[in-house]
């Protein structure tokens, strides 16, 4: 015996191409919606992960632009200002400090990089404190430096690939006569460390003549520390810029807010297009079946039956489109990631679009709710058909 749902399903099969195109339209909207929701979720997580991977909550740099400092914190940077190394003693004096690590970022022009040369940046680190803060770093080959002032280098995964170096190779530092030996190659970490070339800070200072200077100091504080109060304390030091994790997050969030609004607008437009598409398909289908629906009413179908019949068709269309769109968004997550990354001012290193089953179910729910709303008008129009009007009308004349 046919059920109302079965009749609705078979009605959709009558114009297969039209139903399919509508489903594809809904699927594209769902893809945009899932990607947007996945982006909202993924960006936050990815940013948090990047900041957690820094290993410290506060970065102290020489006084300057806070955005530059934030970039330095996450990406490394050039055109840097220096602070005296002695400032470390003042920082360590505070009992709230658990650990500090000095860093020296040094960028030089390398004529052998690329076709016409390029900038290569080195990060001078303290082998005694830096690895303890970056516990997630693991070696593919070798290990950290043998001595604090050794002429040795550790390559991040990507920099080793780019420079084609492995443990035991020698590396000539541009703009100097110094040659360092590669003692370690790191595993891929998914952070900015992958593209970094690490040298002992003492060696780097000596090679480039910036003895007793650092570009930044990473500070890890005790868990119970009031960060805001501690930052105030740090500002008592002369000519320093304090960048906290919270500030960095806020700065980046402000930078990407515009991009988020843009993506959200695109999603809303896509959803509206899908709504109109669903309404158009179902309404066309109602108009084409005007007489048939009238005959159904003469057979004893109540207004509510016809309303439900048309609504079921809408629900089936939106459900199919929602599921297809969610599958698409899962398969195309990396493509979407690349697309979104290209319009953002700053992108964290790990996945920007995180699609999971809960998110997909949420998107299907939203799309179905939209479909149900879109189906009200066609369903209402169909339910109001009087048998006699339908019988008297000729095809397409309502």
């Amino acid at each position: 015996m046919p059920s109302l749902f079965g009749v609705a399903w078979k009605n959709l099969l009558r114009k297969r191409l039209r139903s399919l195109l509508t489903i594809v339209g809904i699927a594209l909207s769902t893809w945009v919606l899932v990607s947007l929701l996945g982006f909202n979720q993924g960006y936050e997580n990815s940013l948090n992960k990047d900041i957690d991977n820094l290993g410290f909550q506060v970065l102290l740099t020489a006084k300057g632009c806070p955005y530059e400092a934030a970039t330095l914190m996450l990406k490394g940077g050039t055109g840097l200002k220096y602070m005296p190394e002695s400032i470390i003693d003042s920082v360590v004096a505070n009992p709230q400090v658990e650990r500090v690590t000095p860093m020296l970022m040094h960028a030089v022009f390398d004529p052998n990089k690329g076709e016409s040369g390029g900038i290569t940046a080195f990060l001078g680190i303290d082998p005694a404190t830096y690895p303890a803060m970056k516990t997630y770093l693991q070696f593919q080959q070798g290990s950290w430096f043998s001595r604090p002032e050794a002429l040795e280098a550790v390559f991040g995964y990507e920099s080793a690939e780019l420079e084609q170096r492995e443990v035991g190779d020698e590396y000539l530092l541009p703009e100097s006569d110094a040659v360092v030996t590669v003692v370690g190659v790191l595993k891929r970490s998914g952070t900015q460390d992958d593209g970094t070339i690490f040298l002992p800070i003492k060696a780097l200072q000596k090679i480039y003549g910036v003895e007793n200077l650092v570009t930044s100091i990473g500070i890890k504080v005790q868990k119970e520390t009031d960060l805001t109060a501690y930052e105030e304390e740090l500002y008592k030091l002369t000519d320093v810029q304090v960048v906290s994790m919270a500030q960095v997050k806020q700065t980046i969030s402000n930078l990407v807010a515009t991009a988020r609004v843009m993506v959200m607008s695109i999603a809303i437009i896509a959803i509206l297009i899908a709504m109109v598409g669903v309404m158009n398909t179902v309404l066309m289908s109602v108009l084409e079946r005007w007489q048939e629906i009238g005959i159904m009413k003469s057979m004893g179908a109540m207004t509510s039956h016809i309303f439900r019949l048309i609504w079921f068709e809408t629900i089936l269309l939106t459900f199919a489109g929602g599921v297809l769109g969610s599958v698409m968004s899962w398969i195309l997550a990396s493509t979407t990631d690349t697309l979104i990354r290209s319009v953002l001012p700053y992108s964290p290193t790990s996945s920007l679009v995180q699609v999971d089953i809960l998110l997909a179910l949420k998107a299907i729910g939203i799309i179905m709710a939209i479909g149900i709303v879109s189906g009200i008008y066609p369903a209402w129009k169909a339910a109001r058909i009087r048998p006699i009007e339908a019988i008297r009308s000729t095809d397409g004349e309502q």
Partner: protein, 229 residues
Amino acid sequence: MSNSANHIISVSDLKKIYIRGSEHIHAVDGITLDVNQGDYTAFVGPSGSGKTTLLHLLGCLDNPSAGVLTVEGKAVYDKGKFMNERELTKLRRDLFGYVFQKFYLIPTLTVKENILLPFAFYRKAEADKTADRLADLLGLSHRLSHLPKELSGGEMQRVAIARALINKPRILLADEPTGNLDSKRSEEISDIFCKLNREEGLTIILVTHNHALAESAGKMVELKDGKLI
């Protein structure tokens, strides 16, 4: 107007007036008529004589403009007062079966699903058995799993008749049921109507231009300009 228990439908001074601009068209103009249980009645007359409109009024598909219409003793329309839409739907469902010139079969449903279509809206016991019995009666048993596009015109009309009879109606209303069929298929439909009336005691009212079909009915009512002749 008599309201004898044997009258399944009674109409008195029934009118249907269409207003087009300033023109009043009297499609049905004061008809008084009784249809008895088990009657087989054919409405005949020239095009525009009001026979289809009268059929629609008797089948509670359209609202009269004036007069009285009683079905099984219940007043469907009495001097301006209509039965409500819900009751009308129930009346149509429980009492009437409708066959039209066009078959209105759903192309994606099989013959059996089309016959059982009314039960998508309300359930009834032994529907499957009834469908099989009707298919047998109408010579459709071998076609139950076919789609309408695989049937001839005569077969499609027989499916439409089976669908009209699936709810075991007491009255079958047919509007030009052979209008889309050749003479051989028309004869088949005529035989089916006679059989249903004779063997099942079904009350049949039909509108036709087909003389042979009209003559097969026990009673012929002629209309002209909305009036009985």
